[in-house]
Subunit: 258 residues, 2 copies
DNA sequence: TTGTTATTTTGTAAAATTTACTAAATAAAA
DNA sequence: TTTTATTTAGTAAATTTTACAAAATAACAA
């Protein structure tokens, strides 16, 4: 979606391919070396930053729509992805502030007030987690920028997206105790210290350095390798990999981490 | 919404007052004397039973829409109400089976295929809990029956409503440990045995008769009264009431029950 | 008035889990 | 060989959960 013809077609005929009045918004959390970030985009049409999002094709499921959106913004497929809440309070989208001239300047298309895009929209929130160092943030056709922001240094977001981030973060932190996490976020082979740091960062709190790795091991998701990693003048830590079968089973059936 | 004029107006002009393409569906759980039921409705237009639901007014929030719907079906206001998931997979509503003649027979209105009601719809699922003995089930204008069904003796439901009930029940049972429950479900003054039975029934499992009441008390939501209830040739149990302040605080901030 | 009975309620020991802390093992570099 | 920072195993204390026993009780019948 980039050429002017495509933009025009989306604006004028999008309602035939997408479900009107419903969108998805994605809180994409990015982790790397003990840093937690969120991906934001800057609309051409709007002043501030907001969460990436989009419409749902009439032929795809909600999860597919969210996955497509996350893929388009980060270039990464098949992330851990969860629906967390639908947002639909009237006034959340500020459609009353519609400015035909501005739309024309930005899109090059004459948009009238009865266009399918200019109407009340209910948005379904998803969150995803990825390794931000592997991603290539890419704006969509309606936005001019797309970048990672530190989780505790976010700008004021547009619409109800502040609340969305808050809810997404809360849900993510609760679900960390009930789903396995780490795949795609850690190197193929990793140390207990690395996965410990991952959990600490995502949860935003300290976890006992001696007990937490034991709890992780007790879940039975990790396989200990006969290899160690050299980390300078210190004891070399063992390397681990995820047991893919146990991991996928845990994704389906859930786990309990205390 | 009952007269023919109102039905006709809803079908022909509803898209002006309601948000098209989005609906809500409510799994309304009913409790009374150790029985757990679900409220189902039977559409005039559709063969089997399904969850009650409806559209969202352009002026109301999602929760208001759900509450209005629950109120219309049960006659009871202000129940414990929670959003649990949005459902939007294509094909879930079977709009391809649209039958103009049948719609006319049922509604007395000539509905064409481009009507706002005949299109892909994404539904936001809410669940609620009420005392079914106090409710007066009432069909909506599109349905011919509305009745309580035993939770473990449900008929096969239409659309994706089997999955909705399953998800609603699962979410409800998880949230029972994180929100206070019992208000409106028990008499104003109740015994520990009664609230114990409530939890057992909603959770669908046994809870230790000696330890569970202690856990409940530990939450600090109950006030012990200086009254007892006569229950025949047995020790008279104490009566309790909810501490409204603590209860409301717990509703907002959550509790932890083990 | 006194036992009988079923239920409520308190008490407590055992079991299990979590937490806090100690110390041994280790590997590279000085 | 010693130093050093980190990994990792071990364990005792603290806490929580569970299981079970027994006391309290109130209506009724004898």
């Amino acid at each position: 979606m980039d050429t002017q013809a495509e933009i025009e077609d989306f604006i004028l005929n999008g309602h035939l391919r997408y479900v009107p009045h419903v969108s998805i918004d994605c809180a994409i959390f990015g982790y790397h070396e003990q840093q937690l970030k969120v991906l934001l985009i800057k609309h051409k049409y709007i002043e501030g930053w907001c969460l990436p999002g989009g419409y749902i094709k009439r032929t795809e499921t909600l999860v597919q729509a969210a996955n497509r959106n996350v893929m388009e913004r980060t270039g990464i497929n098949n992330l851990f992805l969860q629906q967390f809440k639908a947002f639909g309070d009237p006034g959340r989208a500020r459609i009353n502030e519609f400015d035909e001239e501005k739309w024309f300047r930005v899109t090059g298309v004459r948009v009238t007030k009865n266009n399918w895009l200019i109407d009340q929209t209910i948005s379904i929130g998803f969150y995803a987690i990825t390794d931000f160092s592997r991603s290539v943030p890419k704006p969509d056709m309606m936005s001019e920028d797309c970048a990672w922001f530190d989780i505790d240094n976010l700008p004021k977001l547009e619409f109800d997206h502040d609340e969305m981030v808050k809810e997404a973060l809360h849900t993510m932190r609760v679900q960390l105790y009930h789903y396995p996490i780490g795949y795609n976020l850690l190197p193929e082979k990793f140390t207990l210290t690395e996965i410990h740091a991952l959990y600490e960062t995502l949860l935003g709190k300290k976890l006992d350095i001696s007990n937490f790795p034991k709890k992780l091991m007790a879940l039975g998701l990790l396989k200990k390798l006969n290899e160690k990693r050299s980390i300078g003048p210190h004891r070399s830590p063992h390397l681990y990999v995820f047991d893919k079968d146990a991991y996928d089973k845990a994704l389906k059936e859930g786990v309990v981490l205390s």
